[in-house]
Symmetry: C2
DNA sequence: ATCAGCATGTAAGGCGTTACATGATTCA
DNA sequence: TGAATCATGTAACGCCTTACATGCTGAT
């Protein structure tokens, strides 16, 4: 079984742009990336250690006045691994929506319960959509940077699907009424 | 920490309609449910055992002529747990799309690589969309059954979002060209 | 006869989340 | 001075996937 842990690729991808600390990596992931991939400290720090052992990254102590700080830098080997992963056409795309699970079994309860579950989902989506639109606005103003085009595309994916979700919510609520 | 294992709810939900064997449960999940939730034997059988211990379900041996077969039936307690879960407004909706991850870091490789990755995704979506449309067609002809409305709604969610994906694919490929 | 599908399960391992533990710095 | 944020990590636990192990049945 080949390595499946994708957090490694997220980290390599981020480090391919700039050197970062584990803490910074977490912050980057919590930005636009979090809409399609998540990470946690308990996830990131061990990955960083493993990847250093595999010589995909190197570390540099950049502590200043008592505060411990370690920046990571991608190696040639790391870049190779990242590039190979990008060229690999296999990709696992998974959706796990508990809201849909609840809706699927909605017949067990009164219709109101399902309507309420859809409303909760709708509110969540609406909030996330706003965030995504802000990201999109910022990115659109700096598309001269080649990389921003890629970031922009992933953000528009989020916007387009969330807008489809909202339309579906309206339809679904109507059908339940 | 409360129980997080959602496969329990999938099983309870299915058993609320009819008695089923572990094998049957797997087949049901592999149907329309698999678009938003997955299950495996290594997942289902242990859950079945645990839930029997908790008296949420009971088992009945329905083996016939040498072939072992065990059907499960939901108890009153099981129905209560299922109902409570449905009424709980909290729901974790997670998307993990490796394709978007690859696209986000697409700048590392030639644009062709990203275009190819989008195409692979597109083909996958197109295939799944066809399946979903078949489910929808069947369900639409039997909406007199109350439960079918709920199944239908989850299927249309899939159709609507997959159609949005396809539109995005076209746009994205154009922007990369 | 053989192969796909029916049917039950276990075991190992991987991955991830959450909570915990610790301490410095910055800003109100 | 206290809270938020910066910063690094570990430990426990839970969940899931994959592979393995076993055997029957029905159709070709």
């Amino acid at each position: 079984m080949a390595r499946e842990r994708k957090i490694d690729m997220v980290i390599l991808g981020l480090l391919s742009h700039e050197d970062l600390t584990g803490y910074d990596i977490k912050k980057r992931i919590d930005g636009a990336i979090s809409f399609f991939w998540k990470g946690s400290f308990g996830n990131i720090y061990p990955a960083l250690k493993d990847m250093e052992d595999q010589e995909l990254i190197t570390k540099k102590d950049i502590s200043s006045s008592g505060r411990e700080k370690i920046a990571y830098h991608i190696t040639r080997r790391g870049k190779k691994v990242l590039g190979d992963w990008l060229k690999d056409e296999q990709a696992s795309n998974e959706l796990r929506y508990e809201t849909l699970l609840k809706l699927f079994f909605g017949g067990v309860q009164d219709k109101k319960v399902s309507v309420r579950n859809i409303e909760v989902f709708e509110e969540q989506v609406r909030g996330d959509l706003e965030l995504l639109k802000e990201y999109a606005k910022t990115l659109k103003n700096s598309l001269d940077d080649e990389d921003h085009l890629y970031f922009y595309l992933t953000v528009t994916f989020g916007i387009d699907s969330y807008e489809a979700y909202l339309k579906w919510c309206a339809k679904a609520k109507k059908l339940l009424a």
